[in-house]
């Protein structure tokens, strides 16, 4: 353990000389380090000494019982929630715990929420435009113009999420499933390095689920994707490595087969039947 920590040293001699750089240093092939994370709410331990390492370009599935802390983990990574103790590093150099939501997003961490949240008063197109990967400072935004390539990109994404016809519809008027898609679209268009996707296929039909699976698989490699899902079929169809959380810490990690045959996992999560299937 000590050796491992030594390997993952991310100190620099003169950190302030490095200046502001959004480059993610993945020289150790790891893009996300989560170590010893603890978080409790009024005495309830939502995260309990949680460790998680994710390789660059990996597609990682995160499963676990309801309330295991998956969403909370994402909250901590994206700066929404402050943890009590622990460390979260993005690449070798970026300590996410010292950064706020906007910083983290600009570093290239995108997130899809469990409950779809979109800008309801704006059109589907505007929702995507806002999510574009651009300079997000005030003045720059004021004078920003959509470049042809950006428009193409948005069109492309609209096609992927099947909302081409509805591009000028107010996002608030979309159905639940459509909002799910739009949120995925917002993620895609922002071109992130690491995607945190919380329950993407909830409320989707089987075919849509399949399409989502394809989409996510195609994303992996170039990007790193962490998916939370309870739909085992879906997980099976995309998963390479699966991490199981339980009561705020990692219960098991491995390939889908390993996980499916893990007694503990079957007991607290899958149930007998699902394991057989």
């Amino acid at each position: 353990m000590q050796g491992l920590r030594e390997t993952f040293r991310r100190d620099q001699v003169w950190p302030f000389l490095a200046g502001e750089q959004n480059k993610v240093d993945v020289s150790n092939q790891m893009i996300l380090y989560v170590e010893g994370l603890n978080l409790s709410f009024d005495g309830f331990k939502a995260l309990n000494d949680l460790n998680l390492y994710v390789k660059d370009g990996e597609l990682r599935c995160l499963i676990g019982a309801n309330g295991a802390g998956k969403t909370t983990l994402m909250d901590v990574i994206t700066g929404k929630t402050q943890c009590d103790s622990g460390t979260v590093y993005f690449g070798q150099t970026h300590n996410l715990l010292t950064k706020d939501e906007a910083d983290i997003a600009q570093l290239g961490i995108g997130r899809k929420f469990q409950k779809p949240t979109v800008f309801e008063e704006q059109t589907v197109f505007d929702n995507l435009e806002l999510s574009l990967k651009t300079d997000k400072r005030v003045i720059q935004t004021l004078f920003a113009r959509l470049s042809p390539s950006e428009i193409d990109r948005i069109d492309e994404v609209l096609a992927i999420i099947g909302l081409k016809e509805l591009r000028f519809m107010k996002a608030g008027a979309l159905s639940h499933g459509q909002k799910q898609w739009l949120e995925i679209g917002m993620l895609l268009v922002s071109d992130p390095r690491l995607l945190l996707i919380d329950e993407p296929v909830a409320g989707m039909t089987a075919q849509e689920t399949e399409r989502t699976a394809e989409l996510l698989t195609s994303l992996a490699g170039e990007r790193t994707v962490i998916v939370v899902e309870h739909d085992m079929e879906f997980v099976r169809s995309i998963a390479r490595t699966v991490t199981v959380l339980h009561q705020g810490s990692v219960l098991a990690e491995g390939t889908m087969d390993q996980i499916q045959n893990n007694k503990d996992v079957i007991e607290v999560y899958l149930g007998e039947e699902a394991a057989e299937a």
Binding site: N66, A68, H176, T205, A206, G271
Partner: protein, 229 residues
């Protein structure tokens, strides 16, 4: 049990439900299926009285439901588990459950609910909004059961639920249906679950019911036609 007759509904200018007819078989579990955005949730809200309908009738037995307010419909015996759960976030789990008690004129939360969902007992004094998504889903079902409804509407109850609980919810639905004769309207996207639990199915497209039959007759053609993208 509930019959819906030529119901139309509009959001602003756009019509969502088009002269929709639907009969719910008493004591059965009817599964309503359809692609995203065809109007399933809208229909359920209309049944519950949370959305005004433009025309048509909704009756339950010989009560004309569409003339009644939503709260009267709760008293009439409809329990509703909405899509997205709609837990009262700042109320504790216990308070969430207590809300419905006056409908049954009782003072205590039926013990049966904690038997069905033991988590709720554990979390009794936490705020509903703090629960994880799955826990909230269980709370939402429990909350509806406090009403001891005759008809239970479940709008995608398995969204975000861990597999063993999904199974458990299925068991609960079946058990309530079999043991207490509860009529269930279930919106479900997952075929497996629908097949296991549902007795009847109704397929929706563009605000209309386009197919209705017993669950065993749900074949691949229908699925391809109405559920595939």
């Amino acid at each position: 049990m509930i019959s819906i007759n030529k119901v139309s509904q509009l959001y602003g200018g756009t019509q969502i439900l088009w002269d929709l007819d639907l009969d719910i078989v008493p004591g059965s579990i009817t599964c309503i299926m359809g692609r995203n955005g065809v109007g399933k949730t809208t229909l359920m809200k209309a049944i519950m009285g949370l959305l005004p309908i433009k025309s048509g009738e909704i009756t339950m037995g010989d009560e004309a439901l569409h003339k009644q307010s939503a709260e009267r419909r709760a008293y009439a015996g409809i329990g509703y588990v909405p899509q997205g759960r709609d837990i009262f976030p700042m109320l504790t789990v216990e308070e969430n459950l207590r809300i419905g008690l006056p409908v049954r004129k009782s003072k205590e939360i039926p013990e049966k609910i904690f038997e069905l969902f033991p988590v709720l007992k554990e979390m009794l004094h936490r705020r509903g909004g703090d629960l994880s998504g799955g826990q909230q889903q269980q709370l939402a079902i429990g909350r509806a059961l406090v009403l001891e409804p005759k008809v239970l509407i479940l709008d995608e109850p398995n969204e975000g639920i861990q597999p063993n609980i999904v199974k458990q919810i299925g068991d609960v639905i079946l058990k309530l249906n079999e043991e207490e004769g509860l009529t269930v309207i279930l919106i479900e996207q997952k075929l497996g679950f629908a097949r296991r639990v549902g007795k009847e199915f109704r397929l929706m497209e563009k605000g209309r019911i386009v197919a209705a039959d017993k669950m065993e007759n749900l074949n691949d053609d229908l699925i391809k036609q109405y559920l595939a993208v």
